[in-house]
């Protein structure tokens, strides 16, 4: 969706335009917000933050749309900023205002023997590569199960499989992933 299409839709019916934005980009915003708040927020916090993003987007559409050509980039930027704000707010509430990257790296170091030159970004890239190497549906099952915290029934419904099959593939895929990570020096 371009800003021109959006502007035309806004002129016809702002309410319909808002609905269309949420339908089209809801999953995209959710994924970005979830990535930032996964470790510190509840499901309600995440939904609250997603709605903040869209409220800001609606304001942007109301007053200043002409300068933006790529609406997806705009939404991505708003989502990143809002989720960082929310993350800080949640950390402040729980009296845990710390640099998360440092915290996570400490935790990471305690769990894995990682080459000291491999930084967090590289580790993330390697992990995603290895998950992708498992192929479908295993990669989707693992990400949805252990990253998005979905249960087997929900994944089964998404992938049109049975929950039993999802559990079996998940277990087998995790074994394969562990073996692949050991090959590249990532192990307990």
């Amino acid at each position: 969706m371009t800003s021109r299409e959006l502007a035309e839709m806004m002129q016809r019916s702002p309410a319909d335009c808002h609905k269309a934005l949420v339908r089209e980009y809801g999953r995209y915003v959710y994924a970005i917000v979830f990535n930032r708040l996964r470790g510190c927020g509840t499901k309600e916090d995440i939904e609250e933050c997603v709605s903040d993003v869209f409220a800001d987007l609606f304001m942007k559409c109301q007053f200043d749309l002409s300068s933006e050509n790529d609406i997806k980039s705009l939404i991505g930027t708003i989502a990143q900023r809002k989720s960082i704000d929310r993350f800080r707010s949640l950390c402040a509430k729980s009296k845990h205002i710390t640099d998360t990257d440092d915290d996570d790296m400490t935790e990471l170091a305690s769990d894995f023997s990682v080459d000291e030159h491999v930084d967090r970004t590289e580790l993330r890239r390697v992990l995603l590569d290895k998950i992708d190497e498992l192929g479908e549906p295993d990669s989707t099952i693992l990400i949805q199960k252990f990253y998005y915290n979905k249960n087997s029934s929900e994944i089964a419904s998404y992938l049109s499989m049975t929950a039993v099959a999802v559990r079996q593939r998940c277990s087998r895929a995790m074994d394969k992933l562990r073996a692949k990570l050991v090959e590249v020096g990532i192990e307990r």
Binding site: H18, G26, L108, R124
Partner: protein
């Protein structure tokens, strides 16, 4: 390594990693999206209101020559205006009503001037006594009459001499309802016409009064009024039964029937004494009526399809069968199980699985109260696949006893994996479990009757 710790690394991802995670993000349900949209709209409206407030606040302009122009906008609480308006209306209405009441004091509308006779309860108590029958010139008693009577109590509501023609006309409209009615209440989780108990009688009189006698012995006598509401062009006649100033209950007339419905849910009604519904003995709640209601309700849901079927089987051998609704006939369809308890049908919860079985049926082994199903659909992800489930139906729930599977992947179709109760096992252990499953005396159940054929429940 723990999976959770491993996947925590994916948090705070930069752009390229983020894109990969977005690709694998699960779908968000319409319900969740609607909730998010509603929250967003609410916040958006609030932000818009704040933005407009800021614009108003900046209406005052000051030039560098210290010339001030514009109008200062005073901010007051938003609720002040409606509150002041409401208070004014209440004050004016109070003065108007008070004045009218004062002017009409001791007057009947239309200048009747009659005295209002209140509704009264007259209690007459007689005993034995002597009454002078005649008195002589000096007051001497020349004869006496002795009377003896029993105590009696008469309770009545008498229209006063000041009753208007309008009130009399209203009572005339009540006359068709005069007589004795039986008060019926549903005996379970279904409408009153499917199962009811008679819980009292109501005597409606043509003078605008009624007496409600409950089976418990409580008696209420007060006034009844007839009202007519027009809803969507249809006139609805309702009788309102008062208890003092409060409404005891209201009953709506069902045209053509000797029935007055109470409330919207069809759970209570008045039926005329002597009519078929009232003279019949109270319908006793049963699993049949409860299950029939479940089936009727299911037919009105979006889950119902022409492939849906049903069955009744006594799974736990307690003498009361369970209701099975087969959701369809495709591979992923199972059966929902309902049981009967305390006068109503209840669904068997998601102890192991919400719907039991495959292809709309499951297996029943009545000898051991066991349920189960087998599945051999490898789908697109397995080269070969077989699984079986055994559960026990106990305490109105399905409890897993054994689950087993055997499968191979397309990349190496000859390499089989064996699993029992979610643990990898040897082929021998798996075969032992599979042989145990196959040895049961299974009967396939779930798809015995079509919707519309409720004859087993009549």
């Amino acid at each position: 390594m723990r999976e959770k710790d491993l996947f925590d690394i994916l948090e705070n991802a930069e752009n390229d990693s983020m894109e990969r995670l977005i690709d694998k993000c699960p779908e968000i349900s319409d319900e969740e999206l609607d909730r998010i949209l509603a929250m967003s709209e609410k916040k958006f409206r609030k932000q818009m209101a704040q933005a407009e407030g800021t614009e108003r606040g900046s209406a005052i302009k000051m030039t560098k020559n210290d010339d001030v122009s514009g109008v200062e906008v005073a901010k007051r609480p938003a609720w002040l205006t409606p509150l002041a308006t409401a208070a004014s209306i209440v004050l004016i209405a109070g003065i108007a009503i008070g004045s009218t009441a004062m002017l009409n004091r001791n007057h009947k509308p239309g200048g009747g001037g009659g005295v209002v006779t209140p509704a009264v309860t007259v209690t007459t108590t007689s005993g034995t006594g002597t009454t002078p029958s005649s008195t002589g010139p000096k007051g001497s008693v020349t004869g006496t009459t002795t009377t003896t009577a029993n105590a009696s109590a008469v309770t009545s509501l008498v229209l006063g001499s000041g009753d208007t023609a309008e009130e009399t006309a209203e009572n005339a409209l009540l006359k068709p309802f005069a007589g004795t009615w039986v008060y019926q209440a549903s005996s379970g989780n279904y409408t009153v016409d499917q199962g009811a108990n008679n819980i009292g009688t109501v005597e409606i009189r043509g003078d605008g009064t009624y007496t409600y006698t409950e089976n418990s012995g409580n008696v209420t006598t007060d006034r009844v009024e007839r009202t007519v509401d027009e809803i969507a062009g249809t006139q609805l006649v309702t009788l309102v039964f008062y208890d003092g100033t409060a409404i005891k209950f209201a009953a709506t007339y069902n045209e053509g029937l000797d029935q007055l419905g109470i409330g919207n849910g069809g759970l209570e009604r008045l039926v005329r004494a002597g009519s078929a519904e009232a003279s019949a003995p109270s319908v006793t709640a049963s699993w049949k009526t409860a299950y029939k209601q479940v089936l009727t309700d299911f037919m009105n849901t979006s889950e119902y399809s022409s492939e849906s079927m049903w069955d009744v089987r006594d799974i736990d051998n307690d003498g009361v069968p369970e209701l099975l609704i087969s959701m369809g006939s495709d591979h992923n369809s199972g059966c929902r199980i309902y049981y009967y308890e305390n006068g109503s049908a209840k669904i068997v919860g998601q102890i192991v699985i919400f719907e039991l079985g495959r292809y709309g049926t499951f297996l029943l082994c009545n000898d051991e109260n066991l349920v189960g199903f087998a599945d051999d659909d490898e789908g697109e992800y397995f080269a070969d696949y077989y699984s079986a489930f055994i559960g026990e139906f106990r305490d109105n729930s399905v409890q897993q006893r054994k689950i087993m599977s055997k499968f191979s992947y397309p990349e190496d179709p000859q390499l089989y994996y064996y699993d029992v109760d979610n643990n990898y096992v040897s082929e021998e252990e798996y075969n032992a479990a599979a042989n145990n499953f196959n040895s049961k005396n299974w009967t396939e159940v779930g798809r015995q009757y079509t919707f519309g054929d409720f004859s087993p429940l009549s």
